[in-house]
Symmetry: D2
Subunit: 137 residues, 4 copies
């Protein structure tokens, strides 16, 4: 399963090269993960309120083409792998003409909100992800 | 008393006009307030840990000249007025050649961290500020 | 005429108070202005390509209520006044339950892209704005 | 040769987890590269003015420990490899107690400012880097 979400670009995302500043793609990956969670029925904000947070453990981005503010871009996100404590996502960012802007992956790990110690992902999450996989990830 | 602090500009602060994006000046004011607090012996972070936060209630900025990334800029901050629940700061941002970049003010109010309800500023703060005033604000 | 646009909040917009960081409202005003221009048939990006830019000259924001990431918020923008070199906008930010989050205004001035010197707004803009006003601003 | 630079953390760098938002580390890497260039006598801003820009082609970050706003952190940067069109940097971010916060690398490529086409790095850069290497990278 792959979930595609349009990114609402902001003027503040640009830099003096005249393109979208590269660090912002990391937030586009984040928006992709949130959209993925939403698509499988999980409200990421609600999870945090229950004391479970998913900090990013690893980010890898390869930039293919610069993005201009007047382009419409989309992040497509799928899950490559999960285990009891982490989820590995793959992301592709393209524009409205299907030009690839960036590809990468992000790894999130489940930690306790107060101690930041790694803990098992609560039952509800892998359950839902498995269900989606059966429907044809 | 006026406290002056240099701002460490970042490439990400620029926008496609080739200058520092205007919203970032709001964070420069914030850095000015933190420097002011520090100068009077208050660690803003420690205050927050005790459940007291100072959200911004009002911001006013007039932009005089655009700032380029290769300029060195400084925010000068003083307190214009305080009352039992809020503090009004005045800020001026200049470059190394004394060119004025922006002027403005920010108003912060004391609220409870959990309820966001306005509460009296804890004793320690006006006390310190008064002491500084006596030393010649 | 008042143009209302939903803001796509990002996790990166939050701060350690657990709410949307106050400087980001300045970018929400910007998104409001862009939406306003678009509604009257002006693509702000195209204007910039012709060498005309509209830096912000003045920002005033009063914050009424903190915004949480799980809220849906909207910026409503109207033009309060124009003259040959500047446009004054009024903005209101509300959530989906009509709770006011912030009110303010922004003033943009027309400058030459290379010199940053103030110049008259090109004919096309006041023309369009006037046309909208006749339709009942 | 390894260049170490302190990062001036901002309140706006935090997120609602109460830590420095992960995408900001990408800007810390950028600050590390700029410090490195400066240490070998290159003003990155001046290069851009001559029509040469170095967009980021690849970023990889592994996050080891979350960073709180009241910590002092440092980015240490060295060059792992260069070729006629790109430079590969390695970065380590630590706090004042030598705790590792993140490790990673960034790859920048030399492109023409207007076309964004890859071009050879101008003579001056590899020359300087080579000189530093001889002095004991």
């Amino acid at each position: 399963m792959e979930i595609t979400k349009e990114i609402a670009l902001r003027y503040s995302d640009t830099d003096q090269m005249g393109v979208i500043y590269h660090a912002n793609y990391v937030t586009f990956f984040e928006q992709g993960r949130t959209a993925y969670f939403k698509a499988i029925g999980i409200d990421y904000n609600s999870i945090e309120k229950e004391g479970i947070i998913f900090p990013v453990h690893d980010i890898h981005i390869t930039y293919h083409n610069a993005t201009r503010l007047d382009e419409r871009i989309y992040v497509s996100t799928k899950i490559k792998q999960t285990n009891p404590v982490k989820i590995i996502f793959e992301h592709t960012i393209k524009n409205h003409q299907n030009e690839i802007k960036a590809k990468g992956k992000s790894v999130i790990v489940c930690v306790d909100k107060n101690t930041f110690k790694i803990q098992k992902i609560p039952n509800v999450l892998p359950h839902l992800i498995e269900r989606m996989k059966k429907n044809g990830v």
